[in-house]
Symmetry: C2
Subunit: 250 residues, 2 copies
DNA sequence: ACAGTAGGGATTGTTGAACAATTCCACAAG
DNA sequence: CTTGTGGAATTGTTCAACAATCCCTACTGT
C-alpha cells in the first residue's frame, strides 16, 4: 500500500507498553499477489527495464511472473493510478511518457510542497542528519563518477526536504512525483550533466535549514526548482515527441 | 497532447485544418466497466449510502451491479488507492474510518495547498466568477436551510480556491482530500453547525482574492483552516473510536 | 463458569478457460 | 494513394472452481 520509498519514522502507539512494535506491522500484514506484482513492476519501471512508451503485454508478463491475467490486471490498475502506466482501452497498458505539461505541473507542485516544508523550519539551529546524509551520498557519487547514484541521491535529498512537513500524505505525494520524474529522466539521454551542477546548491540549502533559517532555505530552493524546471523543459521539449514517434515507428 | 504551454486561444496543431478538435478526445475515450463501477461506488460512498466501517461484499455488490467479481475487485483497488476503502487481506474491503491523525494530516496538506494557491493571486483586482458562484450557492443553501447543500457548496468553494494554483495534480489531490473529509463528516452527527459559522469568512476571503491581495487572503484562509481543524478534531476524537466500536459490535 | 479448541460455513484470493469486442496489420481493390 | 476487408492477436469480461483464511458455534476439559 505504501507508494513511498522511505518511511519516515516511528510513531508511538496509543497502547502503552508496546513501544515501536507497530513498526513491525509491515511484516505481519502480508500483501496480496497483485500488490507484490505491482511492486516488482514499479521497481522495473523505475530502473528503466521497461522504457517509457513500451507496452506491457498481459500474456507475456503474466507468464513471466507466473500470475494469472486477472491478478496482473489488478496490479496494472494500481500503477495506472500512480501515473506510471497509461491505460488505453482495448489497447493495453504502456509505460507513460510524461508530456512537457506534466513536467511543468510536477515542478509546480514540487515548488508548493517542498518550499512549504522548508519554510516551516523554526528559527533555531538544529541538525538534520537524514538530510545531511543524502547530500553526502550525492557528493560521494559525484566524486566516484557514479551518475546513476547521483541522480537517486538527489531525489532522496528532495524527499527528505519534503518530509520536513511531517505529513504522511506529502511524503506519498512527492514519492509519486519523483517516480514520475524518473520516467522523464529515462527519456532524456544524459542525466549526468543535469544533476551534477546542482550539488553545491544542496549544501547551501542544507546550511540554511540547519541554521534554522526556513525562509532563506525556501528562497534558495525556489530558485533551484525554477532553474531545474527551465533547464529540464528546454531539454525535454522535443525529446518527449521523439519518444512518442519512436514508439509509433516501432 | 501536442499543445504548447501557453494557453493562447488557438494553437496550431501539427496538422493544419483541425483547430481545437482534439478537445473532443475525452468524448471518444470510453471508460472500462471497472472505472464506471468505481464511479458508482465513489458516489454512493460520498453521499453516505455506504457508511464508514461498513463492509462491501464482493458477492452482494457484484450481483447488484451485474458485474463479475474480477471486475468488481478492479474497482475496489481503485477506491482503496484513493483511501476511500480499506482493504484487509482475506477479510474484504470496508469503507474507511479516517483516524484523528488522518484529519490532522488532511488539514496539514490543505493548509499547504490552498494557502499557496491564494498567495499566488497577483496584486491586481480581478473577478473570479467561479469562486463567487460557490460562495453564493452556500449563502442560498444556508438561507433555505438546506444543510447538505451547504456542506457541498463549502467543499466546492475550497476546491475552487485550490484551483487557483492552475495545477491538474493539485486539483486531483484536493478532490481526494475532500472526498476523505466527507467520510469524516458522515461519522459526525451534525454537519450543520459546523459549516454554518464559516459562511461569513468565505466572503471575506473572496473579497481579498478579488482585490488582488493574495497574502491577505492567505492569512484569513490559514486562520480559517486552523479553526476548522481544531473544532473538527475536538468533535471527532471520540466519534471515530465510537464508529469503530459500533462496527465491531455489529 | 470459562479458556481453549476443533469443526464448518462463508468470504476472499487466485487461477484457468472461454467468449465477445476491439485493435492491428497486411493485402487487395478502386 | 486512399479505401475497404479479411484474419490474427490482444484486451475486456464473465464464469466456475479450488485453496486459503476468517468467523462463529459448539464442544471439551478443568
Amino acid at each position: 500500500m505504501t507508494g513511498t520509498i522511505r518511511d519516515v519514522g516511528i510513531e508511538d502507539s496509543d497502547l502503552p507498553g508496546l513501544p515501536g512494535l507497530e513498526a513491525d506491522r509491515g511484516l505481519v500484514s502480508r500483501k496480496s499477489t497483485a500488490e507484490r506484482v505491482a511492486g516488482v513492476l514499479r521497481k522495473r519501471i523505475a530502473e528503466g527495464f521497461f522504457l517509457p512508451g513500451g507496452r506491457l503485454s498481459e500474456q507475456d508478463i503474466g507468464n513471466a511472473l507466473g500470475v494469472s491475467r486477472n491478478t496482473l490486471r489488478e496490479a496494472f490498475r494500481l500503477l495506472t493510478h500512480e501515473r506510471l502506466l497509461a491505460h488505453e482501452l482495448n489497447r493495453g497498458v504502456f509505460v507513460r511518457i510524461p508530456s512537457v505539461e506534466d513536467v511543468v505541473d510536477i515542478y509546480r507542485v514540487r515548488k508548493i510542497i517542498e518550499c512549504a516544508a522548508v519554510r516551516g523550519v523554526t528559527a533555531k539551529p538544529a541538525s538534520f542528519p537524514r538530510i545531511k546524509e543524502k547530500v553526502e551520498i550525492g557528493d560521494e557519487a559525484a566524486r566516484t563518477g557514479n551518475w546513476k547514484d547521483l541522480g537517486t541521491a538527489n531525489v532522496w535529498f528532495h524527499q527528505e526536504l519534503a518530509a520536513l512537513s511531517g505529513s504522511e500524505r506529502v511524503n506519498e505525494l512527492v514519492g509519486r512525483l519523483t517516480a514520475e520524474l524518473r520516467l522523464v529522466f529515462h527519456i532524456m539521454a544524459e542525466p549526468r550533466r543535469f544533476h551534477e551542477r546542482y550539488l553545491p546548491r544542496n549544501h547551501e540549502i542544507l546550511d540554511r535549514v540547519e541554521a534554522g533559517d526556513g525562509p532563506g532555505a525556501e528562497q534558495l530552493l525556489m530558485k533551484y526548482l525554477e532553474d531545474a524546471e527551465e533547464q529540464l523543459v528546454e531539454a525535454y521539449a522535443d525529446r518527449a515527441e521523439a519518444a512518442r514517434a519512436a514508439v509509433a515507428a516501432d
